[in-house]
C-alpha cells in the first residue's frame, strides 16, 4: 500500500486498520543467492539495490536483533559529502545524490533535510586545512564554500563568535547540500522497499558461524538454523571483525565506543549542523526539537555499547564554549555505538580472499551519511563479483599495498 496523504485521509476514516506490515516477517528459506549479514542501513540498502539494480531478489538480510538497532539507530544523523580525497569525495557524493531522492525512491519519508553542514576553523592550521578541503571539494564538482567569521554569525547567530573565547571562530566551510536525516526511517524505508522486491528480512537471527567448502562460502549458521548462501555480504558495523573471523579473515580494524546524546526538546533554535574539530562539537537540532550532539570516542577497545561519563562531561564543556546559551539545557538521553575503525579512517567495501564472501565495514564514526551509496556500490560488488569504480580503491589489500585513503582529518571526531 503506497504511502501518501490520501492514504492517511482514508485511514482516518477507519482507525488506520488497513495499513499492512511495513515488511514481512518470513521464515528463513533453506538457501538464498545472497545473504546479507547485518540489518542496518547499509545492509538493507545493499539488499534493496541488489534487487532493484541487479535483479538479484533471492536475498535474505539476517539481523541478530531488530533492524536498524546498531549504528543506524545510534548516530547523529549527519549527511554530507565534503571529503578531501577524490576516492572519498566521489563515493560520498554519489551517496548524497541518492539521499536527495531517497524518500521518493523508497516511498518512505526519510526526512532528509538539507539544512547545511558547517565546519568551523579555530586556528591558522584549521584555516589552511579548510582552504585545502574547500578547494579540492569544489574541483571535484561538489558544493562547498568558505564563510568568514561574520558570515558564520549570520548563518548561525547563536554561535559564540567573540574573539575572546578560548578558540575563536576564524571561519568555516559550509556545504549547503549537507544536512540531517531521520536515521530510523532510513532502515525502515530500505527494509520496506527491499521487502516489496522480494528480499527476506530475518530479525532475531544471529549469525553464529560461516560455513565454507574449501575457500568458498556455502552459507551461514544462525540461531534460526543453517541458511545456505552462494554469496555472503557482511555489513555488521561494530562486529565486523567478529563476523570476518568466522570466515577465517582477520581485519585491520579496532572497535571503540562512540557516544552521543540528546537534550530535552525545545522550540527551534539551531537550523544547521555545526561541527568543530578544535573545540570538538558536532550538533544539530532534530525535528522533534532535541539538540543532537556527538561526543568523542572512548579510547579503549570495546564491544559494549556504553561509554564513560568523562567523555560526556568534556563534550558539554566544549558545547557550552561555542554555545553559552545551551548551558541551562538538559541532557535527556546518552548512549553509545561501536565504531569499527580502519587505520586510515576509510571503509573497506570489497571482495575478500574467501570466495563468495564480501565485506563492507570500517566506516568509523561516519557511516550513516554513506548509507545509500554504500549499499549501491556494495550491491554492485556482490552482484558483479567486482567493485564499482566508486569503491575500487576501498579494498582490503590497500593495507598491504600501502595505497591508503587517509581521512583522519575528515571527521570532527579524532580517531
Amino acid at each position: 500500500m503506497k504511502y501518501s496523504l490520501l492514504g492517511l485521509i482514508k485511514g482516518a476514516g477507519n482507525h488506520h486498520k488497513d495499513w499492512p506490515a511495513a515488511w514481512r516477517q518470513p521464515e528463513p528459506k533453506p538457501a538464498y543467492d545472497v545473504v546479507i549479514i547485518g540489518g542496518g542501513g547499509h545492509g538493507l540498502a545493499t539488499a534493496y539495490f541488489l534487487a532493484k539494480e541487479h535483479g538479484v531478489t533471492n536475498v535474505a538480510v539476517v539481523e541478530k536483533g531488530w533492524i536498524g538497532g546498531g549504528n543506524t539507530g545510534r548516530n547523529t544523523t549527519i549527511v554530507r559529502s565534503n571529503y578531501l580525497w577524490d576516492e572519498s569525495a566521489h563515493l560520498y557524493e554519489k551517496s548524497l545524490k541518492l539521499w536527495e531522492g531517497l524518500s521518493q525512491e523508497l516511498n518512505f519519508n526519510t526526512m532528509f533535510s538539507q539544512r547545511g553542514v558547517m565546519n568551523l576553523a579555530h586556528n591558522l592550521h584549521d584555516l589552511r586545512e579548510l582552504n585545502r578541503r574547500v578547494s579540492a571539494i569544489r574541483l571535484n564538482g561538489i558544493d562547498s564554500e568558505f564563510l568568514t567569521t561574520e558570515q558564520v554569525k549570520a548563518f548561525c547567530p547563536i554561535i559564540n563568535t567573540a574573539p575572546t573565547i578560548r578558540y575563536p571562530v576564524l571561519g568555516a566551510s559550509l556545504q549547503r547540500r549537507g544536512g540531517t536525516a531521520r536515521h530510523d526511517a532510513v532502515a525502515w524505508g530500505f527494509a520496506r522497499a527491499a521487502d516489496r522486491l522480494g528480499v527476506d528480512i530475518l530479525q532475531n537471527c544471529e549469525v553464529t558461524g560461516i560455513r565454507r567448502e574449501g575457500i568458498r562460502v556455502t552459507g551461514v549458521e544462525t540461531t534460526r538454523g543453517f541458511i545456505g548462501a552462494r554469496k555472503i555480504g557482511s555489513v555488521a558495523a561494530g562486529h565486523s571483525s567478529v563476523i570476518a573471523a568466522m570466515a577465517g579473515l582477520r581485519l585491520p580494524i579496532e572497535s571503540h565506543p562512540l557516544q552521543a546524546l540528546v537534550s530535552e526538546p525545545v522550540k527551534p533554535v539551531l537550523d544547521t549542523v555545526v561541527m568543530s574539530g578544535a573545540v570538538h562539537v558536532y550538533v544539530s537540532q532534530s525535528d522533534k526539537g532535541e539538540l543532537v550532539i556527538g561526543a568523542g570516542i572512548d579510547a579503549y577497545n570495546s564491544y559494549a555499547q556504553r561509554g564513560t561519563l568523562q567523555v560526556i562531561e568534556e563534550q558539554m564543556a566544549a558545547l557550552i564554549e561555542l554555545f553559552p546559551m545551551f548551558s541551562r539545557m538538559r541532557l535527556m538521553r546518552q548512549w553509545a555505538g561501536i565504531v569499527d575503525v580502519c587505520p586510515d579512517a576509510s571503509p573497506i567495501m570489497a571482495r575478500t580472499p574467501v570466495e563468495g564472501f564480501y565485506i563492507n565495514c570500517g566506516w568509523g564514526t561516519g557511516g550513516f551519511k554513506a548509507t545509500p551509496g554504500s549499499g549501491w556500490v556494495f550491491a554492485h560488488t556482490i552482484a558483479q563479483d567486482r567493485p564499482h569504480e566508486l569503491n575500487a580503491a576501498f579494498t582490503l589489500e590497500r593495507f598491504s599495498s600501502g595505497a591508503l585513503i587517509d581521512e583522519h582529518g575528515a571527521a570532527a571526531v579524532a580517531h
Binding site: 585545502r132 526538546p265 548551558s327 541551562r328 600501502g402
Partner: protein, 999 residues
Amino acid sequence: MTAQSHRNPTGGRIDRARTLGFTFNGRYYEGHPGDTLASALLANGVHLVGRSFKYHRPRGIVGSGAEEPNALVQLGQGALTEPNVRATQAELHDGLAAASVNCWPGVRWDIGAINGLLGGLFPAGFYYKTFMWPARAWRAYEWFIRRAAGLGLAPREPDPERYDGTHAHCDVLVAGGGPAGLAAALAAGRAGGRVILADEQAEIGGSLLAGGGTIDGRPARAWLDDATAELAGMAEVRVLPRATVFGYYDHNYLGIAERLADHLPPAERAGRARQRVWKVRAGRVVLATGAIERPLVFDGNDRPGVMLATAAQAYANRWAVRVGDRAVVVTNNDSAYQTALDLSESGVAVALLADLRAEVPAALAQRLSRAGIEVAAGSAVVDAAGGTRVTSAEIRRLGADGTTLEGPARHVPCDVIAVSGGWSPAVHLFSQSGGRLRWDEAIAGFVPDISRQAEVSVGAARGTFDLAAALAEGARAGAAAAHAAGFGDGTATAPAANAREVIAPRPVWRVPSAGRGKAFVDIQNDVTAADIALAAREGYSAVEHLKRYTTTGMGTDQGKTSNVNALAILAHATGTAIPAVGTTTFRPPYTPVTFGALAGRTVGPLFDPARLTAMHPWHVQAGTRFEDVGQWKRPWYYPRGSETLHQAVARECRAVRTSLGIMDASTLGKIDIQGPDAAKLLDLVYTNAWGGLEVGRCRYGLMLKEDGMVFDDGVTARLGPQHFHMTTTTGGAARVMAWLEEWLQTERPHWRVYLTSVTTQWAVAAIAGPNARRLMAELCPNIALDAIDFPFMAWRDGTVAGIAARVFRVSFSGESAFEINVPSSQGMALWQALMTAGAKYDITPYGTEAMHVLRAEKGFVIVGQETDGTVTPGDLGMDWIVGKKKPDFVGRRGLARADCKRPDRKQLVGLLPQDPKEVLVEGAQIMADAAAPPPVPMEGHVTSSYWSATLSRSFALALLKGGRARHGQTVPVHAYGKTSWAQVTEPIFYDKEGEKLRG
C-alpha cells in the same frame, strides 16, 4: 480566588509561618516553604498546566515527583530561564515565575488544539507516510513541523550561573532515601563504613513523607526524624538531599546531580554554585530507588484531574492539599484503598472506589465502607469526560477476561480521578549498571535479576512493597555492603513495621473502550493505545521499533509511567507474553541533567586553559599578536606601530637574516628519557640510528606511524650514556609522550626506560642571525662558542647572563643560532637580559609567522603542514634520514609496501609563482589540467606559501605528484575560482649549502 483554596489548615510538611508568592502564566498565587510548584498550584485549585506535544490537549498534574509526564513549565525569565521543568520537582521559592510550554496564545485557549480535531490524520509515524511531494517541499513542511514540535524555549543568553563538579569515593553508596535506603545507610554507617546517601528530593524520607504506617510502634515519620538525625551525627556518612543519582557507569562509577541553589530566589543565589555533579567511585552500591505507580489506560485518561493515586495521596498528606472536591479512585491493587481513605480524611469527597478485581480485599473494603466510600468491585473507569478538567467518570463492570464490558454505565460526577495501575520498580540504575531484568508475574512488573556490578537492589526497587520487608532488606544490604568493605560483621537489626501487603494486581493493560475516546499510554508524547496497535500491525513489534516509531517513552520523562503499559499493550497486540517482548534499554540519565552541571567548572577561562610561557607577560606588553598552537598561546608576530602582519613579518625576517632575532621557543615538547635501554627506544621510534650519538651532541629525528607516514619530528640530545633530552613539535608533545609510553608499556615492557615530560620545566629563547654568536660571547663566559669547539648540532651546559643554562646549537631559521634553555622560573630574566644586551644589534623578537617563512626558505618542513599523515620521509626528500641498515624501527615495514615506493607519489617541491608578487593560497590545489571541467584531476596542493623579504618575491612549498622529476615545469594552482601558474623548483630557496647555519 481565595488564597490557597484547596489547602487544609493543618497537616503536611510545609511551613505555614512563611508565605511565598509566585506567578504561573502571569497570575499571582501563594504557597509555602516545603511546596513544590505542583503542590502550590494544586493548593490554589490549578490543575490545567500545559498542552500536549502533538494534539495540544489540555493537561494537568499527574504525579508528584520525577515520574511526572505532563506538568512541564518554563521556569524563570531572561538569562535564568529554564525549559521543560517538571512542576512536581520545582521547589517553590518567593518570586518564582513559571509558564506553560507548547501552547499559544495560552494554555486555556490554544490554537494548536486544532491538531486534536484532525487527530485521525496523525497516527503514529504519520510523517513517514507523507510530506514527500513535491520532493523539494520537504524543507517547507519541515519548517512547520519543527515549530509545532519542541516544548519549552531554550535560553537566548549566556548562563550567568556557575556550576561545580567533584569526585568522591565511598564504601557504600545508597541511591534513594526512602525506608529501605535509610535502613541501608543506617546499617552501613553504624558498621563504620564511609557512606553516601543521595536522594532526589529536598527532604529525605521517600514514601515515608507522604504515607502513614508505623515503625517500631511509632508513627513512621517519627522514625524518619530519628533516622536522619542519627545519620547526620555519623562522621563518615554524607547525606545528600536534592541529589539525583542519574547514571550508573562501569566499575561502580556513578554520577549524582545535586541541586544547590535552584530552590532559592535568584537574589539569594549569588556566590553559590547552582548545581554540582558528583562523580562517585563506590565500593558497593545499594539501589533503593523505590517504585513508580502506573496509570491505567482508559479513554480520556489524560484529562486534567486524572492523576496517580499516590500523587493524590502525597498532595493530601505531605502538602495538606485537597486535589479536588470530589474524587473517584480506580485501582487494580490494594494500595489505592489507603489513598481513598487519606483523600477522604483530607476533605475530598470520595464518590467511589472502582477496583478492577472482582474480589476485593475484605478488610480494606470494610474500612472504606465505614468511611462511607462505595467500593465497586470488578469495575473500572472506562471514560473520563471533561475539557480542561475532568467532570465525570464513566464506570462499567469488566468482563471476566478484562477485554469486555458488562452492565450499564454509571456516570459519576467528579473533578479528580485517582488511578493506580500497579507499580513498576524503578530499575533504571540497575539496568544502566548492566544488570538483567526479570518479569515478575506477582507484581506485574520488571524486577532486578542478575547483577553485573557490585550492587544490590532493595525495597520497592526490587518489588518488595511491604514496609517491614523493605526495611529488613535495606538493613541487611547496608550491613553486608559495609562488611564487604571491611566494616562490621555483616549483620544488622531492622526495625519492625506494620505490614503493608500488596495483593497481586489485576493487570488490565487497556481498559476496554466504551466509545471512541483516546486512551493515552505515553501522555507526554501523545501516544495512544491505538498507536501501539498500529505499530504492531505495521511490524514495528520489536520494543525498540515500537519506541522509535511511536515515540513512546522518548519524552523528557523517558517513559517512567508509560513503558510497562506500552510493552504490555504491544504484547497483547502481537499475541506474545510480556517477558518475550522484552524491555527497552534504560539509558542515563535517570532524570535530565543540566549541561552546565556536567561541564562543571570547565567553562570560560577554565575551558581547556591556555598554556603560557614564562615570557608571555613580556609578549603581551609588547603588543604581540598570538596564535593558538595546540593549547599554547604563541607569539604570531610583533607589530610595531600600525604595521600589518605582512610588514611585521618582513621586518622580523630581515632582522634574522641580517643581524639578530630572538624567539620564544619554550613551547616545543620536551621529554626526558633515561635508562639503560634509552637509546634502544630512540632507535625504535626514530628512523635513524642513535646508538652512536656522542654525549654532548644532538640529532634531528623523524618519527613515523606504523604505516610509514611522518608523525612527528624534533631534535634529541644525548645528555649522558643513558640519558636523552627529546624535543617534539609544540602541538604533538602529548601525542608523542603517549606514543612512547604505548610502545614501552604494551610492546617493550621489559625495557628499562623512564620518560618524564619536562616541557614546562624549561624556558627556551632562540637567538638567530649573523650576530647571534657575538651576543652569546658577551653573556656566556663559560662555553667555548666557536664552530669547532661548539659545532652545529651540539649542546653545552654553562651560564647565560648569569643564569644556569643548557645551550643547543640548532637552527630552524637557517642562520647561526643558539637555543638557550633555562629553568622556567628564569625564563623572563633570560629574555630581558638578551633583549637588553642585544639592543646594539637591534635584536628583534620574531614570531611563528616569521619562523615559518625562514624555515620554508630553507626547505625545512613543519609536521602537520607539509605532512598530513600521508607523507613518507621519501616524499619529503628525506630518504637520508631513514636508516637502511637498522634492523627495525616503527614504520619500516609500512615503508616497504609497494605504494610507498611509487615514483609518482606526491613529493615535496618548491613553487615560484609566475607573478612574483602573488602569494598563493595555502591549501590551493595543483590541477592536472587547468581546462578540465569538474571533477578536475588534482595532483597536489600548496602546503606553505609566503612573501619572502629575503628573496623579494613570493614562494611556496607544495606536495606534487612525481614532483621531484618535474622541476622546471609550470603548473596551474587553483583556489576559490582563481587559477595561477607557478614554476616547480627544488624545495630550498636560501643557503643551499648550509654554510650559514653551520658557521
